[in-house]
Amino acid sequence: MDELLTGWGRTAATRASVVAVPVAEPTSPGVGDEPTPFEQAVSEQIRTAGPRGLIARGLGRSYGDAAQNAGGTVLQLPAAGNGGRALGRTSGCIAQADGIGPVDSVTGEVSVAAGVSLDALLRVVVPQGWFVPVTPGTRQVSVGGALAADVHGKNHHHDGSFATSVTRVRLVDGRGDVHRLTPADRAFWAVAGGMGLCGVVTEVRLRLRPVSSAWMTVRTERTTDLDATMAALAEADRSQYSVAWIDCLGPRSTGGNSSTGSCTGGGRGVVTSAEHTAAADVDGRHRHDPLAFRPTARLAAPPGTPNVLSRPAITAFNEAYFRAAPTRPTIGQHPAASFFHPLDAVRGWNRLYGRRGFVQYQLLAPDPETVRAVLAELQRARAASFLAVLKRFGPGNAGPLSFPAAGWTLAVDLPAGLDGLPTVLDRLDDRVAADGGRVYLAKDSRLRPELLGAMYPQLDRWRELRAGLDPQRVFVSDLSRRLAL
């Protein structure tokens, strides 16, 4: 069926023929090299794809155009193993669910159908004492999408990115053949971070982390400027999880130095660092069931919401957020869901930017000076960001297109209609590329293709590996067209 698709940023809509793969029976995890009925159906779609190609789509949470294919085919992966029945049971513990295999009680490994969301997976495995080893700021991503974007979480400096915890994938390649790939295969690393352009992942085997509670012990610290924020984040490397929210604009009262263009005014923040809470330490009220995991979204932005994130609104939000944090470092217990997935508190929050949508600019910079320069530039452009997140990365992995690498990452959300935004972001790209950094393809919707090679020096290596899996270039997305990937 023809559908108009966008990414989470709701920009640059294009039309594609959206195909849901029908699967008659609930799938069991694949065994050996035999294609499952589901994989046979996927293979059939790949073999019959038209000249404008095919791309798989999960939950559509990449911000840009990675999961759309103008004039071509978009293969909608089912949210559960059987494609028909929705995984809609939200209350109560679910012992097992479609598309999620049993957890190996020794290794913590579990096989998950690619379309299953981290939300569904967590609801199944947390009550059994397991946690997803790497989770982004939302649970509403599919496992396949998480691998395609090689997502990271607040523990990157400690545990690496999503691909680090994957022990095996099943992939239908551009010829329609099924592969089982492990991290020992070079092709595996083209798939991890490969933005879905190497094939359709049908199943991911993940190594989960044992936990004894669904609670996090969180240390919260307010910082007054960017230097202090960065210092506190560096300090927080000792914790398994750490992240900083920062105020790009900063309070007007301390902006005395802003005429020099330095970032003294902005960059105040709230740094949080955390560990999983041991069951014995869970607060009394919850100790009877420490593994209970039943997060709910309390608010929702309805369709048609106008752009409510005006500059004054963002300034007010930032002020309130900063003031809500304790003045002195404080340690408290928070539900894992609210610590890891603050974005999930408001359903459809992307609608808050109105119908023009927004872009998320996320960069990696080996050098903190780049981050300073970028923030100063954004400040000069008076570009307010409702969510500006700063975090430290540990070393990267073998994926040529994998985003994370040692250094700092900054993510800001900017309304697409902001005056002068294209020029500002182009300038930031130049600086980031010159400093040996890069922008995140899962967030990108506007990078200049010429800069891609500088940002991803292993690009040609990835292309070689991709050529092995998809010689005819069946897998095409608007992202791959726009950036000539």
């Binding site: 023809d2 920009t11 640059a12 039309r15 155009d65 004039g71 023009r356 294209p422 506007r446 200049r448």
Partner: protein, 253 residues
């Protein structure tokens, strides 16, 4: 592809030597993503000069395509050539002539020939092109209409009636293409001093080709479907269109 902030990679300009049309292309070029431009029109030194100017400005692939807008039987073949190098992100319909009204009234053939260039030909090209755009699933059609389309005046009604037809056609086409990933941007400039309007007395609220280019480039990413240049003409025209005819007729030029 047109990126999230409205910067295209490829543009086809129908009416390739049009001053407003080339101004639009240059504004799109400044967004830093433009790699391929096709200028379509009848061969002329101006057309070649426009192509050279784009090359000099750094557009990698610029080519000139032969097109006679009034010859509708050539449009299928033209469209095929125009899309031969791949997707077109933006197609600008800027072909048009301003007939001498006295001559057109004296010789119906002059009036008909102008309507062929201003209305019938563009309609045919837009239909051929929109079929291709539908197949590629994305793209923007920019159609140069005119304030004259909103309410043609007796001093210029031969031209105005053709623009009114084109405007109605483009607006309808835009609505028909909703949900297909294709947007139609109807551009209604006021008086623009160009070769086409040379010799006419300047009208109030005029704008330059550059102003029109800037307005179109700005509208390329947003949800806007109608662009007035300057913007306040929208309110002026919405008042003018409701004037009683005897009053409208007597308005000074």
């Amino acid at each position: 592809m047109i990126d999230a902030l409205g910067a295209p990679e490829s543009v086809l300009l129908v009416g390739g030597s049009s001053e407003i049309g080339t101004a639009i292309v240059h504004h799109l070029r400044r967004r830093g993503r433009l790699r391929r431009v096709s200028l379509a029109g009848r061969p002329s030194a101006r057309l070649d000069a426009a192509a050279d100017e784009l090359r000099a400005a750094g557009v990698r692939n610029v080519d000139v395509l032969y097109l006679d807008v009034s010859r509708t039987d050539s449009h299928a073949e033209f469209t095929q050539r125009a899309f031969a190098a791949g997707d077109l992100d933006v197609v600008v319909m800027a072909a048009g002539v301003l007939p001498d009204q006295a001559a057109a009234l004296a010789d119906p053939a002059v009036a008909v020939a102008s309507a062929q260039v201003n209305y019938v030909g563009p309609m045919s090209v837009l239909l051929h092109v929109s079929t291709r755009l539908r197949a590629q699933g994305h793209g923007v059609l920019v159609v140069l209409s005119s304030v004259a389309a909103e309410r043609p005046r007796w001093a210029n009604f031969v031209y105005g009636s053709a623009k009114a037809g084109l405007d109605a056609f483009a607006t309808g086409l835009g609505d028909q293409l909703i949900g297909r990933g294709i947007r139609v941007l109807v551009v209604r400039p006021g008086f623009v001093p160009t070769r086409m309007t040379a010799g006419l007395p300047p009208a109030p609220m005029s704008s330059s080709p550059d102003d029109v280019g800037a307005a179109v480039a700005a509208a390329l990413s947003g949800p806007t479907a109608t662009v007035w240049v300057p913007g306040r003409l929208r309110w002026v025209m919405s008042a003018l269109r409701h004037l009683p005819r005897p009053v409208f007729r007597r308005l000074p030029r």
